[in-house]
């Protein structure tokens, strides 16, 4: 198989590429140039490439004896990932740029170019597993090492994308083993630290970075009863669950700290309340995708939509899932259904997930990934989440 190994310059993608070579594939290494902003470079040259990372990837390819190229995706990355990140925050949502990059860059723009140039698959250093059944259907599963498992950020992949994806780190028991293997193979990057956070915000100060890019306007802070408690410097600068930076003069009646419960970007209001109200037990997602074949209940719903017209389809039969809302969050048991609902006044299909244990730290814009056992069923973008006791307060 002709394989394009996407190489960040880190240890995971290096070992993944090496394993693809060992498996007998015809491998070419490609480093993606994603940034032109000088501030995001460890070492810079004309502000177009991360020289050190690119050079690390090149040296691994030298050691493997495979060709190496740098491909420029900075324009697409800016438009599809960076600009989208800012826009989502500006609309009061909390996006995950790594998922967006997988969805739009690595397994779309890059994969498309790779396939057009004669490759059969893109190989990455993600910790996740793809299986194939007798009929040729692919499934996405958690990696052997649950602590490193990255199936969550791959939850956006579709069946077509999984058909062209190779994750050689699927069965690795631990990250330590990957580092040991890199050292054994003589890769200079064996001890290179893991990358953290968001690659285009080098100092990790996401709020500061956003505040330079989002126009803020002073607005009101209200409690859940609608009473004005104070003013804020701009609703768009807040995230659901945030406690710091509220600067409300008066303490709450019960003396307990208050948290951001809801951001209303249209009216520029921030709703605050006690921690308990952050707990939600129903989540509504939109734009669902399936990592492989949809479950039977979903297939039935799509067939009903087609037969009855989208507006009249009855909700799907419920199906049991484990729901996960962040990359490193614990999944919780839940029941899922597809329904016809309404989003921003427009009819839309929703994935409604009722949790059996309530969750905190859920925010609109985050991705809800649903699992059955180790299998990733699919994902949807969260647009609303609430406690069934107080459905009027929606994160």
């Amino acid at each position: 198989m002709r394989v394009l190994a996407a190489m960040s310059g880190g240890v995971d993608s290096a070992v993944a590429a090496a394993r693809a070579v060992d498996a007998g594939h015809d491998v070419v290494g490609v480093h993606l140039a994603l940034s032109r902003m000088p501030g995001t470079l460890r070492t810079g040259s004309r502000g177009c490439c991360t020289i050190e990372d690119s050079s690390d990837a090149r040296r691994v390819c030298d050691a493997l004896g495979i060709p190496f190229y740098v491909w420029d995706f900075s324009e697409r990355f800016k438009e599809d990932v960076v600009d989208n990140f800012v826009e989502e925050y500006a609309n009061g949502r909390t996006p995950n740029p790594c998922m967006r990059c997988n969805e739009k860059i690595k397994f779309a723009a890059l994969l498309e170019k790779a396939v057009a140039l004669g490759f059969d698959a893109v190989c990455t250093g993600h910790y996740a597993k793809v299986t194939e059944d007798a009929a040729g259907n692919r499934e996405l599963h958690r990696a052997a090492d649950w602590a490193k498992d990255q199936s969550y950020v791959l939850g956006v992949l579709t069946h077509e994308q999984l058909r062209h994806s190779l994750f050689p780190l699927a069965e690795t028991p631990t990250k330590a083993e990957v580092r040991a293997e890199a050292a054994e193979r003589g890769f200079s990057i064996a001890k290179k630290p893991d990358s953290h956070d968001i690659c285009f915000i080098p100092d990790g100060d996401t709020r500061g970075w956003l505040e330079e890019r989002i126009e803020l306007e002073e607005g009101e802070i209200r409690d859940t009863e609608g009473e004005v408690l104070g003013t804020h410097r701009g609703a768009r600068a807040f995230t659901v669950g945030q406690r710091k930076g509220l600067s409300i003069g008066r303490p709450a009646a019960d003396g307990k700290p208050r948290f951001v419960l809801e951001i209303r970007p249209k009216s520029n209001e921030v709703v605050v309340g006690p921690r308990e109200l952050l707990a939600v037990d129903e989540i509504r997602g939109i734009r669902e995708t399936w990592a492989g074949e949809p479950v039977e209940q979903a297939r039935g719903f799509y067939a009903a939509e087609e037969a009855a017209g989208t507006a009249d389809a009855e909700p799907s039969e419920p199906f049991d899932v484990m729901a996960q809302v962040r990359a490193h969050a614990d999944p919780v048991p839940a029941t899922a259904r597809l329904v016809r609902g309404e989003v921003d006044g427009e009819p839309a299909r929703e994935l409604v997930v009722r949790l059996r244990e309530s969750l905190s730290g859920v925010a609109p814009g985050q991705t809800l990934v649903i699992y059955q056992g180790t299998r990733v069923l699919g994902q949807a973008t969260i647009h609303r989440a609430y406690s069934l006791d107080r459905p009027d307060i929606s994160v």
Partner: protein, 402 residues
């Protein structure tokens, strides 16, 4: 797989004579600045090489300052002349450069503007990539007392356009302004006459003519107001200190002699191959657009240069597919990490950004053969068709992946 090397403008293989001269001096050793016998012997090798380089460029040996290469020679000229012209209380902030200079010149000028208070004025180019001496005349007509220097390359490295150097140098001289020319791509390809050109300084590089990498020269008139960039032992007319690299310079001398002796016949042979490449491309890929002068004579265009834009594809896709098929070419411009960006030279010539992204440069040299050209013409139609199907990097991916 048969490898076809069509990137001689990037570097060309070392010639056997140069390799021999270099290794011989490496074995012999000696510091050319030492006063004893070993030193004198090394000095003799360096001076003989200086004479050969000078002879190949129609300059005097005393005018040849050896450097670590073309980039250092350009740095010495641009910064050295700028500081020399602004010494002793003079104020000459204006720096005139063409819009198609190599980074070795363009980035020096930009650095001077950023850090030293220089003001850059750019000479425009026509759609062939050529400057017009009348534009320089207009720039200098209003008074040139505040102009530090003018710099225009002898011939462009991407599209091969030969510049009217003698006339430009004449205009600069009439205004009393020093004139620098970057002749890195022209040395070995065109007859270079430093004295006849009227230039104040001229940069050349060894590895473009069959010498090793890491050696070059700035040719400078005896009166060129050059300030040193590298201080130390006072070697090379006291403008370029550092132990003189006798082995590399020996190789440079040997390659310069070969280039001078074989120039007429070799450049005619190479131009013949290039003409076949250009004609063949019109049949193989009719959509390809030749960039740079359409007149292929060596007064207009470097003999080994063929440069095209291929509509609807990324230059790096085409480069990848050609490389996989065994043909080595260039997108014409690259930064350190190897990311191609739309060429500033093409943009200055008025080529649109999308078209500029599909650039591919093929450059022939002394090792090139007719088979090389045939092989390129054989593989390019399929490579182009496939590169085109991969599309442009700024287009959104298709719905297949959503």
């Amino acid at each position: 797989m048969q490898r076809v090397y069509l990137d001689h403008a990037a570097t060309t293989p070392v010639s056997p004579d140069a390799l021999e001269a270099m290794t011989e001096q490496l074995r012999r050793g000696g510091n050319p600045s030492s006063l004893h016998s070993a030193g004198r012997s090394a000095r003799s090798v360096v001076e003989e090489a200086r004479e050969r380089v000078a002879a190949a460029l129609s300059a005097d040996p005393a005018e040849v300052i050896f450097t670590s290469g073309g980039t250092e020679a350009d740095n010495l000229a641009i910064k050295g002349l700028y500081w020399g012209r602004n010494a002793g209380g003079s104020s000459r902030p204006r720096v005139v450069v063409s819009g198609i200079e190599h980074h070795a010149v363009a980035d020096c000028a930009e650095w001077l503007a950023r850090r030293q208070g220089a003001r850059i004025e750019r000479l425009p180019v026509d759609t062939d990539g050529r400057t017009d001496p009348a534009d320089l005349e207009r720039l200098l007509a209003g008074g040139a007392d505040d102009v530090a220097l003018v710099s225009v390359m002898w011939a462009n490295n991407e599209v091969g356009a030969v510049q009217p150097i003698a006339r430009l140098a004449e205009v600069a001289a009439a205004a009393g302004v020093p004139f620098h020319t970057d002749a890195v791509q022209s040395f070995g390809a065109l007859p270079l006459d430093f004295h006849g050109s009227g230039a104040t300084t001229m940069a050349v590089s060894g590895h473009k003519i069959g010498a090793p990498m890491g050696v070059g020269a700035l040719v400078a008139t005896r009166t060129a107001p050059l300030e040193a960039l590298v201080h130390g032992g006072g070697q090379e007319r006291d403008v370029r200190s550092g132990t003189v690299d006798a082995p590399a310079i020996a190789g440079f001398g040997a390659a310069a002699r070969e280039a001078a002796e074989g120039l007429a016949a070799e450049s005619e042979r190479i131009a013949g191959l290039r003409d076949r490449l250009v004609e063949g491309m019109a049949r193989a890929v009719p959509e390809a657009v030749l960039r740079g002068p359409a007149e292929l004579g060596r007064e207009h265009r470097l003999p080994g240069n063929a440069h095209f834009t291929f509509p609807g594809c990324e230059g790096d896709s085409l480069l990848f597919l050609l490389d996989m098929a065994g043909v080595e070419s260039s997108t014409g411009s690259a930064c350190n990490a190897g990311v191609p960006r739309p060429s500033e030279v093409l943009l200055a010539m008025g080529v649109g950004e999308a078209e500029a992204r599909g650039a591919q440069r093929f450059t022939l040299g002394h090792a090139s053969t007719a088979e090389d050209v045939e092989r390129l013409l054989e593989v390019i139609p399929a490579a182009y068709a496939q590169a085109r199907s991969a599309g442009m990097a700024d287009h959104a991916p298709s719905g297949r992946w959503a």
